[in-house]
Point group: C2
Chain length 114, copies 2
């Protein structure tokens, strides 16, 4: 998955190619939904909330969502260091649309998967 | 990309893992948006509308979206056979949420990609 700064050379202004396709994958959606519920979560909280995500993918997806400013990453200088994740204001603004898609998917789940 | 009938074994009822993650990739979104505009389109119309999609990916994505009942596929018994694609009613129902995400992405494009 490309990071948020690598624009599509052929279509550098396309919102689907450059933004949505990088945040609407399974793991990004699951992380955004977990943070919407959990509000402030640490890495291990997210790993518990999404048991089927690998540590590598959780780390890279958190990095990408933070680079894209959808989530905040706050580090406390403690020993060991504590890191907390939360939705940014911009990330929160996306969630009604994500929720609409989830409701649509739940409504039509049987039609789509049968 | 899994087809729509292959449920996630660990989470067989999850709308994100089983539905959204299979229709919110770049090519699915671009095809759905093209059909929303073009209404009834043939394969070559879609290829023209999305020049950077390969023939193989266009065919497999159309197949997956048709299997998931998001798009209709109508074949006319002519020589050569004519095939037309269009959004199904269920597909049309998804588009307001997709449009909301696109508007959000356009609004925050610079913040996200810089």
């Amino acid at each position: 998955m490309l990071n948020m700064k690598e624009l599509d050379l052929q279509y550098p202004t396309c919102p689907v190619r450059n933004v949505l396709s990088r945040i609407s994958d399974k793991w990004s959606l699951l992380i955004l939904c977990s943070l919407q519920e959990g509000e402030i979560m640490r890495y291990k909280d997210l790993k518990n909330a999404i048991p089927d995500i690998s540590e590598k993918v959780l780390s890279s997806t958190l990095k990408r969502l933070n680079e894209g400013h959808l989530i905040n990453r706050k580090m406390y200088k403690e020993i060991p260091p504590r890191v907390e994740y939360s939705l940014s204001d911009m990330g929160k603004e996306l969630m009604p649309a994500v929720q609409m898609m989830i409701t649509w998917a739940q409504t039509h789940f049987d039609e789509i998967t049968n």
